[in-house]
Symmetry: D2
Subunit: 263 residues, 4 copies
């Protein structure tokens, strides 16, 4: 009577089957030494061989609820192995997306405030071999070099999302990716700015104009230079202030596979 | 056996009952004399007296499909009356939200391109008396006066959404509301800009800095001055380029109810 | 040089001005005696009299960051008063929207798992008098009575969102609103269900068919009967499994204003 | 002074650069012989070699506005070639996502109504060689076989999105993909259903229970059997009526690359 455990005769394996968009509390370690509490949305999938009729959906939810109330990065890794075992699958995939906060100091006044970033941990397991990737969406200011050059005064600028996804050979803090991206943007964002800070960020952005192409290339260059980064995808989406559409660029590179092509 | 037509004994009337988020093709007249084809999302509700167990959900969909394939503004008005009659209700409400396109000329080169706006028609009927309101979301550039004043050069700017909802005594084109808002913004948006146009919009925004407070007040002033406007809500949301949050302001006024208060 | 503090000559007051969509960590008390950590999205607005040119946007963010890292319900209330004072306004409004988790036991097996709900606290202050409202979105199963009655077997059912917004005279737990709604639905939802639980929820929903009209009325009746509830809005949106649109109903009532009308 | 045309010395090519989320009116041919007007959201990207500083963003928008007001499938194909030429790139990518309507007859009464589907055309061009793919999101009913088997009566069911992306050797109508998917679902959806139709769809879904695994496999089998389909991705997301999360499955296959593996 266990419908899912029957034999399937369609001879078609399923690449991914599981649960999607389930929320759960998590806690994540800070570079500052603390731990922050946040809420994640999980996707959990396994590979299903052609001869099994179905997977056991409830086991995914059971795994999610079998750790402490708040899932930590350590339990995330255990969940990958646990899932592959309990679902008897050779391959599995877990995504955990959550807002992450960094306490930032305004550039001149030093007043502190939190800024939020969207972070996703992506775990894969193949034949008991787990790998981890991390994706961080860093909101920044971008200021257009062309607009600056051709205009007698001013330059259009806007909020942009720079998204970096990395696979690494070693531990990398979320904050390291954030720092790396913010250093390459026209200017970084802050929650709280006093007047001298606002003067600073305005002038700083004007002094550092970047096309969407510049942003992704400058971030890519930093990722090329960091030996811990094995592969990456860098995207920038500029929510143009003079148009009702975005400017967009993407660079993808797997350092383990390809020599650095300059074509 | 008609479950919905039974008598209800809970003695509770329902303010709105009907269907939500159903898409249908529509056509809308241009001020330019043409008609444009677009796609709308409809919400259709009626009042249900306490003694009726349920409404007839399929009749709402039937009304939507009983006109020509593309619903026009004229059929929209007929639908209001039709709905109140066929659902035997003293009150009804229909919303129709659609993207609307305006062919704009770039300010210097004159090159043409379309820009998209989100428009909602809102029809209400009470005791056979229909009224119509219109809501238009106008994306614009806003440039911060404070940032301009305190900085040696540059000024942060960003895309903003100015939303105007109006009830009118007379016919008003969608394009009239768009023009009114765009004239009050730091600068209007365009799909296509050549280099001299980009210079123009950059400098024009710099020459017309506006706080979110200025934008809603200047738009409100124009709406105060137009005798066809009976009531309005003006909102502006600035997607700040230096923060990861929005600045927001709202003014609401019903000219038919209240004297112009200056408190 | 303080641009925002200048005098404004347009003679137009602004109903709401402030910041929108800013995220911040919060903690919320459980009925179970614990405290849960979650992440909220805040909107914070004040009234601006006609003679002031602008508000001080940075003060809103400063207020948000001036409490402990995690904002509690107590700090939320203080923030309302604080905001009205520091922004020198007679009226203010704060919304705080967050995912909230309840540990539920499956109906037969008793296995435990978390379920997530969207909750919004809405604080208003007028002339130093603060009031609070709470909005809870409760996802449930709804099963169609008509489909059950006319079909030889089966009945279409679907996920629905029942949204309840209340103003109360006394303290009410979030969980009390959740319990109240879940008791009126065809069936409540669970994260984790074993086979006997799945049998139970399937049959329980079939035994408790409800139109969208029934759900809002039955919830309204419970809210009518609770003397702590001063006013409410109840909505239900059924994401119909046989259509590509929703069925929707809404009841609004202010017990302090109107006698219970049975028209 | 043409900033974008300068030489770039970072030696990093950009995989995709262009514009994102721009809306434009389109028209699409029906299998019924007509043409329907709708509105699309476009993404347009090209490859940028390492030695070019930037692309010309305005040319993308110019291409979009250089055809008749409504872009047709024929102009879509021309746009691909045109874009690669005008942006002087060896590779390009255009996506065009739009709501598409099919006039359906209810299964018993035969009453007609429109149903909406989300469709995306994806064009790629590499060294002047264009290829096209099509993605269709088909909303359907899914009914759980396990719930049916273990329950004395009833079975939970819900709306699901079945998404099929195909590359084909020959012309395939959007409606062919829709028909193929709807034939494999527990039941297809309709805008308008009368009582005998509602009885029919309720019983039909109950007679055709499908796990998310069954749906993707049965659709995959049909795509395997159609010689015009070169490669495909099939996904199903069931918005579970008994949970607050989705069940999900995906099968991907490139017939031109791999033998049909039955592992």
């Amino acid at each position: 009577a266990d419908v899912q455990s029957g034999v399937d005769r369609r001879h078609i394996a399923i690449d991914r089957v599981g649960i999607k968009d389930i929320r759960h509390p998590v806690r994540v370690s800070d570079r500052s030494g603390g731990e922050q509490h946040t809420v994640a949305t999980f996707n959990m999938y396994v590979y299903l061989p052609h001869n099994f009729k179905g997977t056991h959906m409830s086991r995914f939810v059971a795994i999610l609820n079998s750790h402490e109330r708040e899932i930590s990065v350590n339990s995330f890794k255990e969940m990958l192995t646990d899932m592959a075992q309990r679902l008897e699958s050779k391959a599995g995939h877990i995504e955990m997306r959550f807002p992450f906060f960094v306490n930032k100091k305004a550039p001149v006044s030093g007043v502190e405030s939190l800024l939020d970033y969207d972070v996703t941990f992506i775990g894969e397991i193949h034949n008991q071999h787990p790998t981890m990737a991390m994706k961080v969406v860093v909101p920044v200011t971008s200021l257009c070099p062309c607009s600056k050059e051709i205009s007698a005064y001013g330059a259009h600028n806007q909020r942009s999302h720079v998204t970096v996804q990395v696979r690494t050979s070693d531990f990398v803090w979320i904050e390291e990716i954030i720092d790396l991206v913010e250093a390459q943007a026209s200017c970084e964002l802050f929650g709280l700015l006093k007047r001298p800070d606002e003067k600073y960020v305005t002038e700083h952005a004007y002094d550092n104009p970047k096309f969407v192409e510049d942003t992704v290339r400058d971030v890519a260059q930093c990722l090329n230079d960091d030996p811990r980064i094995l592969s990456y995808i860098v995207e920038s989406e500029n929510f143009e202030s003079i148009h009702n559409h975005s400017a967009y660029a993407l660079i993808e590179r797997d350092k383990t596979q390809t020599p650095h092509s300059s074509t």
